[in-house]
Each structure stands twice: as C-alpha cells, then as structure tokens.
Amino acid sequence: MPKKAVWLIIIFTLLFILGINSGELKFIQNLGNTICLSCIGVG
C-alpha cells in the first residue's frame, strides 16, 4: 500500500472526525432541510 495514500487517509479521517465533533454535521443537516434559493436562482 502506498505510504502517501495511507497518510492522506489518516489526515482526512482526522479532519472528518474534527468536523463531526465541532458540530458541522448539524450545520449540514440544517442546510439540507431548507430549500436552497441559490440553487433555484432566486435573486
């Protein structure tokens, strides 16, 4: 297994865990529960 890939997997896993623990999961959920006006092109 290439070392670079293993290191990157470790780093990205840590970033993901950091995101979960800092409340970013809730942010995504709140975002997903509202209609995205930018996606529709309102404005």
Binding site: L18, G32, G41, V42
Partner: protein, 294 residues
Amino acid sequence: MGRLRTLVQTLVAFGTNAYLLFPFGGSLIYQGSLKAVCHPGLNCYSCPGALLSCPVGAFQNFLASIRFRAPGAIPHPGVIVVGYLGFIGTMVGRLPCGWLCPFGFIQDLLHKIPVRKFSLWEPLRWVKYGVLAVLVVILPLWLVDSSGLGSPWFCKLLCPAGTLEGALPLILLKPSLWATLGFYFWNKVTILTLLLILIIFISRPFCRMLCPLGAFYSLFTRMTLVHLEFIEGNCVECGACAHKCPTGVKPAQEFDSPECIMCLKCLDACQFRALQFGIRRPLAPEKKRRVSPP
C-alpha cells in the same frame, strides 16, 4: 462491467433521491436525519426527492458563513466535507464520477442518443480547476454582505444539477416561487440548456470542463489506493481503450490521468489484459516512469 455500472448508477440515482412524499402533502423537500450526510456525487439537496446533501453546496455554505458576524455564531470551516471528500478521493479517486454521480448518469444516458459525436478541445479540461478555486472557494469567502455572509456562487451562477434537479421541479411544485425568479435563474436555465445539447454530441462535457467535485477528486488520482494498472508488455497499441474512454483518456499513454473516472470501459475493451484494476502497489523508483512515449 458496463451493465453492472449502469445498474449501480440507476440504484444510486434513484436510491438517493427516493423521498416520494413531496406530492402527497409531505414537506416539499426531505428534512430527515439523512440530510446530514453528503452525497459522494453532484446531487442537488433541493431536489424534492433528495435524501442526502450536496457536498459542493455544503462546502460553499461553510465558507460563506465563516465571516458571519452574529451573536453566538460559531464559524465552521467545513473540515467535515474536506475530510469526507478527501477520504473518498484518496481511496478511489474519481470513481464516484463514473459510478455514483446522478448528474454523470444523466450525461451518460443523454450521450446515447445516436448522432455524430465530437471530441472535447483538451485545454478546456483545466477550466474545472478555475471553477473549483473561484466559484467554490474564493467568491463564497470573499464576496460577503454587511453581516459577513457570503453566497454559494457555484450553485448561484452555474450548477446545472441544481437547475435540473432542484429549481425546475421546485418551481413546478410551488408556483409562488415564479415571482422571485430573476437573472440568476434564467442564466442557469440557459447554461443547462446549452449543456444538455452539448452532452448529446460530446461525452461527459460537464465532468470534463466544469465540475468542481471532479476537479477536487482528480487532485488525488496519482496517489489513490485503487487504480488502473497498465501492463506495458501486454499492450499491442490497438487503441481500443482510448476509443472507448468517455473522458478522452488514452490509458496506455496517460497513466493515472486526472480525467479518468474509473468507469472501467477500457478494461472491458482491452482484449490483451494490458489494464488491471486493483490496489496500487508501491513501485520501485526505476519502475515509476511507466508512461510510454506517444
């Protein structure tokens, strides 16, 4: 392999857009706990059927809210999305583009229309990195209103998946939205129309030219855990692999190409087993340069 890929694409496209209550008195979009999870492909979270969130939309909104000044507002840099997409990218590179992305699936279906096909002008491949840098990162961070809140500029200006899967169904379901539509909507409808026409003639033009998610995944293609291995000794240079490739890659010449979406059509096309799909093995320094001169 082709049939398996179509089956997976169909299951993922319908499985991740399986909220069917919107016409029957349920909420207009799904609002359950699955929305905390991002789709690995480009799939608008405002699509009435969408069960998952869009990673590009979520990341832009994280960046757009970093400078938001409000009592109690905690800035989130979006490391969860970077970690999630980076993990997928490092594991399998652009495989989600070829197998899991609903908008990629739509492009594959439209391109089956039997008309004369054209190839994409290769320098246009670089535009998607500009889209990623400018529309997804720089503008949401930089262009903010008086309260410090930015906008998801890729969704606002360009995203054809948002127009097709989100905007058009929503304005049909909720006609009151018509009154709020303006320049941005018609701009996006024009882009979507042009793109849908282009897709019929050119294979996967959006993935190759404009997709910021594909651009992000492609940053990892030279170090992914799984990859397509080229066995030089078996290759007879028949060109069958390059002929089948939907993104214009020449697998025998462009080893670990950032354009490769790992659809594995080249693997099916090769009669001589010159391509193998599997876990990348660390190479000895003298074997690292395996690209044959054209």
